[in-house]
């Protein structure tokens, strides 16, 4: 179970990385929709960074070599 969750975390990080580098995030000239005045690329970038941090946190809890 521990190992599976860790592998899911690894897969999620790869998927998020690919999506971030896709036109979904890196859309040329796009700065809307805004959030709290922040342009699209900035708030989405911040959200992605926080999401990756959360996944890393979960990954740490279930890392197979945690207690080595």
């Amino acid at each position: 179970m521990k190992d599976t969750i860790w592998k899911i975390c690894c897969a999620l990080v790869i998927i998020i990385a690919v999506l971030t580098l896709s036109p979904l995030v890196l859309s040329e000239g796009k700065h809307k929709p805004e959030l709290m005045g922040m342009p699209y690329i900035l708030w989405v970038g911040i959200a992605i960074s926080l999401l990756l941090w959360v996944i890393t946190y979960v990954g740490v809890l279930f890392h197979p070599g945690k207690d080595d």
Binding site: C10, L26, S27, H31, L42, I46, I48, S49, D68
Partner: protein, 466 residues
Amino acid sequence: MLQKLIIAACIYILIIIGLALYSRKGERTSKNYLMAGSSLGSLLGMFTFAASLFSTFTLMGMPDFFRVHGVGAWIFLAFSDALMVFGVIWFGYYLRKSVKESQHEYLGMAGFMEKKFNSKWVGYLMFIGVFIFLVPYVAIQIRGISIFLNQAFPDALPLWVWASSLVVVMLVYSELGGLKAIIYSDILQGVLLLIVVWIIGVFCLNSLGGMEAMFDQVEAKNDKLLSVPGPKGLFTLQFFIGSAMGIMLLPFSQPHISTRIMIMKDNKSLYRMALGLGFFAILVILPTAFIGMYGAINYADLSPAEFLGKTLFTDQSEIIAVLVTIGLIAAAISTSDSLLFALGGELRSLLKGEDKQMVNIARIAIVVFGIVCLVFALLSNDQLVLLARTSFAGTSILAPLIFTGILAKNPAAHKWLAIPTLIGLILFVCSSLGILPKVYVGIRAEIIIPIVLGVIALGAVFLSRS
């Protein structure tokens, strides 16, 4: 103002030299002097990792990067750093496991690779690779802070005196106390960095009337700053991929960072440290965006040095300006000394002989490396972020060889991988200097070279297994 700065700088220097003297306890062995005893807890680990990672490049380079190229700079650094943190957990585990299983006393990646590949040439290649790309990285730290000080106090001292003084300070305290001294001072420097960057960031945000008003003004001034690829078209997909690859691989390709993975007490401490680092990265990078936007609105046409001089110094109250200056000096010193020390460690890891004598050779080498970096700092240009990025990308070329050493069952069978790695390094240096093209089959050299080397390494390992 200069008088206040001198007083504050003297206090700061006294504190770090005091810390260096405090950490002189114990015998001066390689393990104590170069690896700080290898039993670091997560909090100390986080500060030393953060202080050596976030440097002048972050505090001065990133605001300028946001100012000139826009908010896409967030993806360039914060996104890449988030991936790097996950990589520390993912592959840091394998690095530590591999060192443990080989029963090797880790003193540097070059020595470890020499042992794993059973080839001194692999060790030499590793050392040359990191030396070529770390010297410019140290140089931009020294140059960055020196041009700032020169801008802030134009009539006080020439650039070369500022630069030389910084190098002398960092050499004195790292020579005195070794890696432990650097780690203790990193706490002070990490906290200072965080405080300073937020003070300036909040000042910039407030003076522009808050977040929404700030971005409205940026849009009115130059709306291309609010999206990719930015006003100068820098932020392309390939730029982001190249940056992410270079930064993700830093913990393994740059010795000052891999040393910090190896000196953690245990895996649990390593993971906690990485989590703290991930959060620290977001906290440090966010205010640099505010500072950059402030510059884009008020100082769009100035040079990087003039913009930083005005934003970080002239526009601030005297106390804040002094604090900022000390924070900048701290940021530059904390990264540079770690890098110089890591170069010494890499050299030590290749030396064979009586330990005390080898440590002394490494100490002399650190001074020599410091002088080389000083000369380079006086000759290099002011594009801090782009020079740093070249350093990240350059060392990433070593990564396929390093990962083969860590992950392959019998790395010694693949020692020939040093040859394509050497060719890759030469190609990258030539394309960076403009001798060879920067783009091959439509792909930038910094992406295609590590990918080709990675495919070769994977192919070699796969074929030997089957």
